[in-house]
């Protein structure tokens, strides 16, 4: 469980780090902690995995990555681990998750993301993976993203 102090700290930094030479001191001033204490708490939240990492999130559209494909697979349950590991290890695959099927409308249980600058190139990459890894018997579908309606970080507090 997170302490009240950690929750306050998380709430204070979730919208972004101050752009100043001592950012952690500034956060400390807002929540009534010393710079060293803020550094120690954030370090420990990161070591404990509550914070996955500090850094930036890019807006991939603005950086030219406009072909963003969610590739979904209908994998027999007994082959999920094997194929999940296999797809997760491919170059260009940035995420690979198992998610539940929602039958009858949605039979797919393995999701991966491939981002590229052009659709044709992304489709070539997917074809190459299917061929080289012998996945032709695993039904898959490619869902490119169209318009983006909202992109911001999740807020928890």
């Amino acid at each position: 469980m997170l302490s009240k102090q950690d929750k306050e700290l998380i709430a204070e930094i979730q919208s972004g780090l101050p752009l100043a030479s001592h950012p952690y001191a500034e956060i400390g001033e807002r929540v009534g902690l010393s710079e060293q204490k803020v550094i120690q708490r954030i370090g420990s939240l990161q070591a404990g995995g509550v914070i996955k990492r500090m850094g930036i999130v890019v807006r991939h559209h603005e950086l030219g990555y406009t072909a963003n494909a969610m590739v979904v697979w209908d994998v027999p349950d007994e082959r999920l681990d094997e194929i999940g590991e296999l797809l997760g290890s491919q170059d260009y695959v940035t995420l690979c998750y198992q998610r539940p099927r929602r039958l009858p409308d949605w039979p797919y249980n393995l999701f991966c993301m491939i981002h590229g600058q052009k659709r044709e190139r992304v489709l070539q990459i997917i074809d190459a993976i299917v061929e080289s890894e012998d996945l032709a018997d695993i039904p898959h579908k490619v869902l490119f993203s169209g318009r983006r309606f909202k992109q911001r970080g999740a807020r928890y507090l």
């Binding site: 370090g43 930036i56 169209g146 909202k150 928890y156």
Partner: protein, 147 residues
């Protein structure tokens, strides 16, 4: 965007130091000044090339709920429903995708219990069912965009 901006983006997707002078540390690695680094991050946030600069949280370890959700919305209704869905503060991002399930968004809630409530509220407000597909297993996550 020039070579220095690109180097900053590539570097900061790998993490940010937790120490007294983190900007100075990164600036030295990139052989620029601390002021230049701060100014460029500020400019890229302003130009919306970066969406955020700060911590990425692990929703489940925060005690929260996280799910990928999809809906099937007829063309003529899409704008109205997107607006209604995006009004929920728990909706983190929302993309149209080319499938019968054509609206895909991420829901992040403060507690797992709240997830069920928000899913119900979205379905009631919009009049369409929501399919939620929370992550069951993670085989790989290495989201990084080389620029």
């Amino acid at each position: 965007m020039d070579a220095v901006d690109r180097a900053i983006i590539n570097r900061l997707q790998e993490g940010f130091p937790i120490c007294d002078r983190p900007y100075l540390t990164v600036a030295k690695q990139l052989e620029i000044t601390e002021d230049d680094l701060i100014g460029r991050i500020d400019a890229m946030l302003g130009a919306k090339q970066l969406s955020r600069f700060g911590p990425m949280y692990h929703a489940e370890r925060m005690g929260g709920g996280l799910s990928l959700c999809a809906m099937s919305i007829p063309d003529g209704e899409f704008e109205r429903v997107a607006e209604q869905v995006n009004r929920f503060p728990e909706v983190a991002h929302n993309y149209a995708r080319d499938h019968r399930l054509n609206m895909w968004f991420v829901l992040a809630t403060e507690t797992p219990k709240r997830m069920g409530e928000v899913l119900g509220e979205i379905a009631r407000t919009t009049g369409y069912p929501v399919y939620d597909m929370p992550k069951q297993e993670e085989f790989f996550v290495g989201l990084k965009f080389e620029v």
